[in-house]
Amino acid sequence: MPLQNRSSRTRQRTVLLVVIMVLIVTIVAVLAAVLLANGMKETSMELLQWKGRGTTKNLQEVILGRCYNYITTVNPELRDKDCQKIWEKMQKAFIYKNPCNITIEDYQPLLDLASHPIPCNKSLFWSKTNDLVHRYTKTNHNFLTLEDTLLGYMADGVSWCGNPSSPGINYESCPKWSECESNPSSVYWKMASKMFAEEACGVVQVMLNGSIEAGAFRSNSIFGSVEILNLDPDKVSTVQIWLMQNIGGPPRPVQLLQCASDPDHADCRLCTNSVQ
């Protein structure tokens, strides 16, 4: 008799234990599912994370200020351009969009408002010589690079990208070219470069860096893949190439700029009466 009682009690206990176990497992599973769902919801509300630097703070003020500065003091022929509209078109191209999905068409309204003609024989293209070429054109006003046009002037040194969720702009990070090619910055410069090449006429200059190991001319650079293809053979008569070396190579007029930073280098001696 007692044996039977003990076995039935043991069975009851086992059943109870199993039920409790099942209950615990179910609760844990439900909790996990809820937490996971919440977690996913939070991620979709968050900013996307990228490896490049985020949108420049006060982007609107900087771009607007540069636009007005350009049409008022740099190139007053463009004084009738509407900078407010230009900014709005630029913003519309990337705000609230996934920054890996930008196309040249997104920037077409901006291009229509901000493009302007460029005087002949002044266009200077560059590849891998950014710093040098801009120091050159800043001091010598015979040449214009893309960054001397309105589109280039506004965006030079500035970064920007959107984000699908509010506030629509990502100030923390933006995709690098290595993460995705169709990011707002890269597509902007592609669009601007295309315009710059299409507007070029007469004698066109190119400054290449002859001191890079990978070679002065790369067909997949913006110059090689966009600008050179958009030069209009009916408008452009000659292409002059300046192959720049680091100091220690052939002296060139632009090498004077390099010498300005290193005047005591052996290649920078001047033949003048008025040297100290």
Binding site: L64, Y68, Y136, T238, L257, C271, T272
Partner: protein, 321 residues
């Protein structure tokens, strides 16, 4: 006769009043100087943010709208001939930031050269490359009494009245800039300027030199730059430069003076490549690669004509080293 005398006197007075007081056009006074730069607010606020976000972020967080309001307060709704440097005090306090030692560059008669050479704080930080300076550089502004707006038609120039908005701005900006400068001080003068490289009456002489902080300055270096192909009217130890050197020595400073400082001269030479003052010494002869014409027809062959322009040494010579 007395009648005609009084009549002519009256006419004379009327005309002289007209000469002293500018004629009014549409209720706005017509001054001799250029009016306020259009879109001034957008340009200035844009420059302010550009400075603190891109040019010199070490300046830290600044409220550009607040600074703009303080700037405006100095001259808006006031007689444009009665603006004093002290009116800009709040503006100065809000936009002040430190200037790194050995970076100060003072100048006279070579604004564009200084801007090019300093390269937006990369080499030096002249007044125009500070936050305060960027508010006013190449811009113009003035207000009017009993009106909260800018005068876009005209502004008084220095001849009409010295205490105008722009003049007073640069006075206080110069004073402030000089007070904050430390380490080695650099001064760039124009040796071809008519009237002398060192104007004895000017912003530099009247507002900057008197405000040098003796205990924070190690020494002073003067560069006297002549225009390429221009006259050598003043140079170290001569003319007005000598006056400046004496003045600074009397104040107790250690002075160096350099004629046509090479680094700046090389930059000037960019626009005068073929000038005899600008030929770079080189050991190898110059060569030119001939025209390369590929076997492609039509307009493309014109495009693909590539002219390698070697100015002194050949590309071949470079390969052989």
């Amino acid at each position: 006769m007395m009648k005609s005398f009084f009549l002519s006197l009256l006419v004379g007075l009327l005309f002289s009043k007209d000469y002293v007081k500018p004629t009014e056009i549409d209720g706005k006074k017509k001054w001799k100087g250029e009016g306020t730069t259009s879109n001034l607010e957008s340009i200035v606020i844009g420059r302010c943010y550009e400075y603190i976000r891109i040019v010199n972020p070490s300046v830290g967080e600044k409220n550009c709208t607040e600074i703009w309001e303080a700037f405006k307060k100095a001259f808006i709704n006031k007689d444009p001939c009665n603006i004093l440097p002290s009116d800009y005090e709040l503006f100065i306090n809000l936009s002040l930031h430190t200037i790194p030692p050995n970076k100060s560059l003072f100048w006279e008669n070579n604004h564009l050269l200084v801007t090019s050479y300093s390269d937006r704080t990369r080499r030096y930080m002249p007044l125009c490359d500070t936050l305060i300076g960027s508010f006013g550089d190449f811009l113009n502004w003035c207000g009017q009494a009993n009106d909260t707006g800018f005068n876009y038609d005209s502004c008084p120039n220095t001849e009409e009245c010295e205490n105008n908005a722009v003049e007073s701005f640069w006075k206080i900006a110069s004073i402030t800039y000089a007070k904050q400068s430390s380490g080695v001080i650099y001064i760039m003068l124009n040796g071809s300027a008519i009237g002398g490289a060192y104007p004895v009456k000017g912003f530099f002489a009247d507002y900057e030199v008197p405000n040098f902080q003796k205990d924070r300055i190690s020494r002073i270096e003067i560069w006297v730059m002549d225009d390429i192909g221009g006259p050598d009217l003043d140079s170290c130890g001569r003319g007005s430069v000598q006056i400046l050197e004496e003045r600074l020595k009397t104040m107790g400073y250690d002075i160096t003076c350099i004629d046509n400082y090479k680094s700046v001269l090389l930059l000037k030479c960019l626009d005068y490549l073929n000038h005899s003052d600008c030929s770079i010494v080189s050991s190898a002869p110059s060569t030119q690669r001939g025209l390369v014409s590929p076997a492609r027809g039509g307009s493309w062959s014109r495009l693909i004509y590539m002219i390698f322009v070697a100015f002194k040494r050949s590309v071949l010579a470079n390969f052989s080293t």
